[in-house]
C-alpha cells in the first residue's frame, strides 16, 4: 500500500538509488551491520534469549505459578521440607511453601531491583557527570572529589553500611546500591562530555547563541547515550547480584518476601540434608546474572569494541 511516504529528490539533495537520503541509508546499513555482528556472538544471543525468557517469567509468573498462596508465605506444616518431586519441582521450604513458585515470583523482585537501581544510579550520575564534564573548573573538581570518595569504599561494604543505617528493607537496599553505583556513571559521562565539548558542532552551536542547557541536552547528551547504555547493560547483572547479596546478609528484602538471596540465607540452616532450599534460589541468581552479563558483553562488543576481542 503506497502511502506516498517517499523522500522527494528535491528536498534532500543527496538521494541515492533507493530514494532515501544518504544519511538515513547509512544508518540503516549501520544498524544491520550491528545486528549481524551481535548475532555472530553466540553467547550473547543465548544471553538475550534467557533474559527475554526471564522478563516473560517476571511479568507472567505470578499468574501461572503452581502454588500462588505460597508466594506470600502461607504455612503448610504437612508439606515441610519435602525433596524435589513432580508435585514440587524445587522442593518445599521449612513452612511448606513450594520453592519453585517462590523462585518464579522472586524473579520479578530481582529484575525490578536491577532496573530501579540503575535508573536511580544513572539519574544521579549522568547529570552530575554532564555538569562536571561540560563546565569543568571548580564544579568539576568538587564533583570528582565526591565521586572519588564513594569509589574508595568497596561497594558491598558501603551498601551494607547504608542499608544497615536506614533499616533493613528491600527499598533501602535498592537506595543503598544506587548510592554506590552512581559514581561509575558520573565518571563515564564526565569523560564523554570532556571529549565531546571540544567538537566543532558544539562551538558552532555556541556561536549562534545556543544556551548551555540546550547544548548539553540537544547536542552532546545524545552522543553519549551509547556508552552509557552499554555500561547499563553490563551493570544490571551486578546490580542484581549485589541486591541478592544484601538479601543474603539480611539487610535487604525481609521474609516472607520471596527474594532469592534471602531464600539462600534461610536455607543455610537446613544444610546438608535439605539441600534444595538454598540451591535453587541461588541457581536462579546465577542464571539471571550470567544471562545479563553475556548480553552486556555482546552489546559492548558491538557498540564499543575498544579492547581486543
Amino acid at each position: 500500500m503506497d502511502l506516498g511516504i517517499r523522500p522527494s529528490v528535491e528536498d534532500s539533495g543527496s538521494a541515492t538509488a533507493t530514494g532515501w537520503p544518504l544519511e538515513r541509508q547509512r544508518s540503516h546499513e549501520n544498524l544491520r551491520r550491528q545486528v549481524a555482528r551481535f548475532r555472530r556472538n553466540r553467547l550473547a544471543v543465548v544471553g538475550l534469549a534467557i533474559v527475554g525468557l526471564l522478563v516473560v517469567i517476571a511479568v507472567v509468573g505470578p499468574y501461572i505459578v503452581p502454588y500462588p498462596g505460597d508466594t506470600t508465605g502461607a504455612i503448610h506444616p504437612e508439606a515441610q521440607l519435602q525433596a524435589p518431586s513432580t508435585a514440587h519441582l524445587f522442593g518445599t521450604d521449612d513452612i511448606g511453601d513450594d520453592i519453585l513458585s517462590r523462585v518464579i515470583v522472586g524473579s520479578r523482585l530481582s529484575l525490578t531491583v536491577g532496573v530501579i537501581v540503575l535508573v536511580i544510579g544513572t539519574g544521579i550520575g549522568v547529570p552530575l557527570g554532564a555538569v562536571a564534564g561540560y563546565f569543568g573548573g571548580t564544579t568539576d573538581v568538587i564533583i570528582m572529589r565526591v565521586t572519588d570518595i564513594f569509589l574508595t569504599i568497596p561497594a558491598l561494604i558501603l551498601a551494607l553500611t547504608i542499608a544497615a543505617a536506614l533499616g533493613p528493607s528491600l527499598r533501602n537496599a535498592m537506595l543503598a546500591i544506587a548510592l554506590v553505583w552512581w559514581p561509575g556513571y558520573c565518571r563515564l559521562t564526565r569523560g564523554q562530555f570532556m571529549s565531546l565539548r571540544q567538537r566543532t558542532y558544539v562551538e558552532s552551536a555556541r556561536v549562534i547563541g545556543a544556551r548551555d542547557a540546550r547544548i548539553i541536552f540537544r547536542h552532546i547528551l545524545p552522543n553519549t547515550l551509547t556508552p552509557i547504555m552499554v555500561k547499563m547493560s553490563m551493570d544490571i547483572g551486578f546490580a542484581i547480584l549485589t541486591a541478592a547479596a544484601l538479601g543474603f546478609i539480611g539487610v535487604g528484602a525481609q521474609p516472607p518476601q520471596p527474594e532469592w538471596g534471602a531464600m539462600v540465607s534461610l536455607g543455610r540452616k537446613f544444610l546438608p540434608n535439605w539441600w534444595w532450599y538454598s540451591t535453587f534460589p541461588g541457581l536462579a541468581i546465577f542464571v539471571t546474572v550470567f544471562a545479563f552479563n553475556m548480553l552486556g558483553d555482546g552489546l559492548r562488543d558491538v557498540f564499543d569494541p575498544q579492547g581486543v576481542r
Binding site: 553467547l43 572529589r145 565526591v146 572519588d148 570518595i149 564513594f150 574508595t152 569504599i153 568497596p154 561497594a155 558491598l156 561494604i157 558501603l158 551494607l160 553500611t161 547504608i162 542499608a163 544497615a164 543505617a165 536506614l166 533499616g167 547483572g237 547480584l241 541478592a244 547479596a245 543474603f248 546478609i249 539480611g250 539487610v251 538471596g261 539462600v264 540465607s265 536455607g267 543455610r268 544444610l271 546438608p272 539441600w275 538454598s278 540451591t279 541461588g282 541457581l283 541468581i285 546465577f286 546474572v289 550470567f290 552479563n293 553475556m294 558483553d297 579492547g307 581486543v308
Partner: protein
C-alpha cells in the same frame, strides 16, 4: 622521583577527609533518634534531652564532625554493644583473619588467572580462548555466597574432603599470636600439624573468594597480551628466531605487568569487600563477619568502624600501587 612520592602521599589527605565526611554523613542517616534509643522506651523528654547533651548530639553538625574526627584520630572508634569491647580492639583481633583470607585468595587468583590469560591470548579464538571466556563470565556471575554453599555441600559434606567451616576445628587453640594470621603464626611457631589443619580450613574460603578476581585478571592479562603480541618488537623477536615461549615469557609478559598491577590492587579491594559474604558462609572470624553480625543487631559503631578501616586500607593500597607504577614506568612521574 622524590617529588612524585611527596605529591602522591599528600593527595591522600583530602581523600581521607572525604572518607571521614562520608562515614559521618552515613552514621547520621539513621531514622531513629540515637538519644531516644539510648535512653530507652520509658524515658521522659527530660531524660532524653540530658542524654542528648551528654553525647553532644545537640551541638551543631560541624562541631559534631570535629569531635568525630578527633575521636577517630585518638583511636576512639566507639564500643560494640555485642562484644562490649572497643571497636578498634575488636577490629585488631579480626582484621588479620580477613587479611589472611584475602591474601590467600589473591594468590590463587593471580597464580591461576595470569597463566590462563596468557594461554587464552596465545590461542586466540580457538577453543581454549572460548572456554576461558565462558569460565570468566561464569565466575563473575556466580553469587559467591551460593558458590560457597554449593562447595560446602559437595566437597565438605558429601565428599568429606575438606572441613565445612571455621578457621580451625572447634575447641582447637590458635597458635601463639605473632601476626594474628593463624597460618603464618603456626608456621612461625613450628607447629606443623596445626599448620596443616589451618591450611585445610583456608582452602575452600580462599578459593571461593578468588574466583571474581581470577576472572577479571584472566580477561585483563589476555587483553594486554593480545595488544602486546601484535606489536612490532614481538615481530622482531620472532623474526630473530626466538622461540614463541621465549617471546611470550621474556618479552611480552614483562610489558603486560604494569596495567596488571593496578588491576591487582583493585582486585584486592574488591576481595576485601566481598569477603563479607565468604566469611558469613564459612564462619570465618574476620571483619566482614563482624560487620554482618553488627548490622543484624543494629549495633552501629562496629559497622562504621569496619567501613572506615576498609576505606583506609583501600586508600593506602591505591597509594602503594601508584607509587609502584611510578617506579616501574618512569613516564608516570611527570604527569
Amino acid at each position: 622521583m622524590g617529588r612524585y612520592v611527596v605529591r602522591r602521599v599528600l593527595l591522600i589527605v583530602p581523600t581521607l577527609v572525604g572518607l571521614s565526611i562520608l562515614t559521618f554523613v552515613v552514621s547520621h542517616l539513621m531514622p531513629a533518634d540515637p538519644a531516644k534509643l539510648a535512653a530507652g522506651p520509658r524515658a521522659t523528654a527530660d531524660m532524653v534531652q540530658t542524654i542528648r547533651h551528654e553525647y553532644g548530639l545537640d551541638r551543631p553538625l560541624y562541631v559534631q564532625y570535629v569531635t568525630y574526627v578527633r575521636d577517630l584520630l585518638r583511636g576512639n572508634w566507639g564500643t560494640s554493644i555485642i562484644s562490649q569491647h572497643p571497636v578498634l580492639t575488636d577490629l585488631r583481633l579480626y582484621l588479620p583473619n580477613t587479611l589472611e583470607l584475602v591474601l590467600a585468595s589473591m594468590t590463587i587468583a593471580i597464580g591461576v588467572g595470569v597463566p590462563l590469560g596468557v594461554i587464552a591470548a596465545v590461542s586466540q579464538n580457538r577453543w581454549p580462548d572460548h572456554l576461558s571466556r565462558l569460565f570468566t563470565i561464569s565466575f563473575v556471575s556466580l553469587p559467591s555466597f551460593w558458590f560457597a554453599i554449593i562447595l560446602q555441600l559437595t566437597i565438605a559434606f558429601t565428599l568429606g574432603l575438606l572441613p565445612v567451616d571455621g578457621q580451625l576445628p572447634t575447641l582447637t587453640a590458635p597458635p601463639h599470636r605473632v601476626t594474628g594470621m593463624v597460618l603464618v603464626d603456626s608456621l612461625l611457631v613450628g607447629n606443623l600439624p596445626l599448620l596443616w589443619t589451618a591450611f585445610q580450613h583456608l582452602i575452600l574460603p580462599a578459593f571461593v573468594q578468588s574466583i571474581g578476581a581470577m576472572a577479571i585478571i584472566t580477561r585483563m592479562v589476555r587483553g594486554d597480551m593480545l595488544e602486546i603480541l601484535g606489536q612490532d618488537f614481538v615481530r622482531t623477536a620472532r623474526a630473530k628466531g626466538l622461540s614463541a615461549r621465549r617471546v611470550v615469557l621474556g618479552h611480552a609478559l614483562r610489558n603486560a605487568f604494569i596495567p596488571t598491577l593496578t588491576l591487582i590492587g583493585l582486585s584486592f579491594g574488591f576481595s576485601l569487600g566481598g569477603s563479607v559474604l565468604v566469611e558469613t558462609v564459612f564462619d570465618w572470624p574476620g571483619i566482614g563477619l563482624y560487620a554482618v553480625n553488627a548490622a543484624l543487631s543494629a549495633d552501629f559503631e562496629p559497622i562504621m568502624g569496619v567501613t572506615i578501616m576498609v576505606g583506609f586500607i583501600f586508600i593506602v593500597l591505591n597509594l602503594v600501587v601508584d607509587l609502584l607504577y611510578g617506579v616501574l614506568d618512569p613516564r608516570i612521574r611527570y604527569t
